[in-house]
Point group: D2
Chain length 118, copies 4
């Protein structure tokens, strides 16, 4: 069993033990996920050397980032679990498609989004 699967099962059991499964419909989980994404965004909202490149590993910002990334991950895998989706498998298929869609020689150093081109 993979680490992500073990985490999914652990969270499933955590929810079942507290009878919280009734709160975990898709819409509720997406709203909860947004709450955590908002907390992650807040950490990086103002420009600065740490937010623009990467925070010092000993900083409070680094520690808080690990917490918020965890919260987003937990709600995301709970949503995948509730929907019966294998997120690792689905993400690998996405990367298969991205490799075809963005050939190395054509996109070297070029952001894929053309809407921002001048």
């Amino acid at each position: 069993m993979s680490d992500l699967e073990a985490l999914t099962l652990r969270y499933r059991r955590f929810s079942a033990e507290r009878d919280w499964e009734k709160f975990h419909d898709p819409r509720s989980l997406i709203l909860a996920l947004m709450g955590e994404v908002g907390e992650l965004a807040e950490l990086y909202q103002w420009p600065g050397s740490q937010t623009e490149s990467r925070p010092n590993p000993d900083s409070l910002l680094h520690e808080r980032s690990a917490e918020e990334i965890s919260d987003v991950l937990l709600y995301l895998i709970r949503l995948a679990d509730v929907l019966g989706i294998d997120p690792i498998d689905a993400a690998n298929r996405k990367l298969d498609a991205a490799e075809e869609r963005f050939p190395v020689d054509q996109y070297l150093g070029e952001a894929p989004d053309k809407a921002q081109a001048p």
Copy 2:
């Protein structure tokens, strides 16, 4: 090596091959993550039997959900990779804390957020 680690390394290599690492600072990745969370939210934005409970596994909604969950996961693990954070490890520590903070006998069937209480 875990499945999530393998996915992280695959995405790291994908980015390096295209010289896209320069786009992957924390703020850019969080904005990109928001784009994908927005697409996930859109799928479930209107009430209905499938959005409120869970979509039929053969539905377009189910397939689109797998894609959007993948996109969120990919930007999230790329962010963790750039910041030098192990998301599985951090999420397990979060669940350790949640188990202490929400004892089963005290929170059985009760949403943890009191702000919504009548």
Copy 3:
């Protein structure tokens, strides 16, 4: 001068007085906006009679909603101001387009998003 314009000018002056204009580039304001949208989502994340229909006007949830809606509005009009966009004018043009795109007789009682159709 409209009320929204007056609010925009007040926030502009508030920012100038504190020399905070340097923090108000588009990416920073969007990240800050995401933080506030996250707080709004958190208030409504779990299902319940007040979150699903509408909260009692005397409830804490109602009061907190007014605060979070304000925070989203403030960052949104600050972003529009920085970009030189008139949001009222742009929104009226959007509604003009929506009236053409969704004729009453064709969309009566039908959610516009077909991705969710069974």
Copy 4:
């Protein structure tokens, strides 16, 4: 009647004419708002001279920004309308509080969020 009030009433009538009020509960509107915030974030997700400072007023990025800001504004005022909240009034109260909380002499040129301090 203020411009924002007129816009709110126009959107209310637009919804009523299409019998779409049944879709406009708070959770649905917040999910829809998240979708539009995601589209706004996408426009600015990659670093560059226009995304970091401000786009040229004749650019596609500027035009797309006006559209996405409108979409966020429309769902936001629809939510406020459904909840019975006056957003201009609430935002002015927020600015009253911010003026007290961040005295000019103490916060001159200082981002209010200390979590990011080095």
